[in-house]
């Protein structure tokens, strides 16, 4: 798959993980593994990218005597999900048209 397309999907996946509640690295990996191809080391650049673009913010909380970083989605991040859904809606329409035409043969 095109890497830009893949990155966009992974970004949206991680962001939608945070819609319900703030979460931390390990929990995000666990929640997404099985649904998309993601690991600890592939999550890190995604989190960095999302933080840099203002789609999420980071804060640390003490847990079990050590610090745990929590990620929180911002309005920019929510907007990103909306845009993602709209773009894919348009893409799906095209996909359906192509499939219908192909099935006619």
């Amino acid at each position: 798959m095109d890497s830009k397309l893949k990155n966009g999907m992974l970004d949206a996946c991680v962001l939608s993980c945070l819609l319900k509640a703030d979460s931390y690295g390990y929990s995000i990996v666990r929640e997404l593994s099985g649904k998309v191809e993601i690991s600890e080391s592939t999550l890190y650049p995604i989190l960095r990218r999302l933080e840099a673009s203002g789609a999420l913010t980071v804060y640390s909380t003490e847990y079990n005597g050590r610090l745990r970083k929590y990620y929180s989605i911002t309005d920019t991040g929510r907007e990103r999900i909306r845009t993602f859904l709209e773009e894919w809606k348009a893409a799906m329409d095209i996909y359906n048209y192509i499939r219908k035409e192909a099935e006619k043969l």
Binding site: Y24, G25, Y26, V29, S39, E40, S41, Y44, P45, L47, R48, N64, R66, L67, R68, K69
Partner: protein, 173 residues
């Protein structure tokens, strides 16, 4: 591999990258290793679960920006210091030239002032013995020489001050 070894390995491999970024990256992996260990996974297995350390380091090298602009390549630093050296060399040379010019102007000023005094005394003498017409001419010449002396003195002090400033600036570098 233990946690500390893993962290040390990454730190070594990421040398030259922004310290904050390196610390953040290591903290990220250590946090995840700790989470795995909380679930009862032994330390070495938890570290291994992160993946191949070599690959992780290579991936981070790709992602992390090179350290602050302050740390430029050694060649650039050397070129800059050479540039500075020649710059301050130019300043010192310029200030020496200005000193010489200033000194020359001072000597000229002394000469013209002596000349003015001589012309004045000769003029007074001529005024007394040869009438006021020649005396007035000599007085005019005296005034001219006095003006020239003042002008040359001003020029000399400017040159000296300029030389001092240049020298000070090159010393500050």
């Amino acid at each position: 591999m233990k946690r500390a070894e893993f962290a040390e390995y990454l730190r070594e491999k990421l040398k030259g990258r922004s310290e904050t970024e390196v610390n953040n990256s290591i903290a990220y992996y250590i946090e995840l290793i700790n989470e795995h260990m909380d679930e009862g996974i032994p330390e070495e297995e938890a570290v291994a679960a992160m993946g191949n350390p070599e690959k992780i380091a290579a991936q981070l090298l790709e992602q992390l920006p090179v350290s602050q602009p302050a740390v430029s390549s050694p060649a650039a630093i050397q070129a800059e210091s050479e540039n500075r050296e020649s710059l301050s060399f130019g300043r010192i040379f310029g200030s020496i030239l200005l000193w010489i010019l200033g000194g020359f102007l001072w000597l000229t000023a002394i000469g013209t002032s002596i000349g003015a005094t001589a012309v004045l005394s000769v003029g007074i003498e001529l005024w007394i013995y040869n009438g006021y017409a020649v005396g007035l001419v000599m007085l005019g010449l005296t005034l001219f020489l006095t003006g020239l002396t003042i002008g040359v003195i001003l020029g000399a002090s400017h040159a000296m001050r300029g030389a001092g400033k240049l020298l000070k600036r090159s010393a500050e570098r």
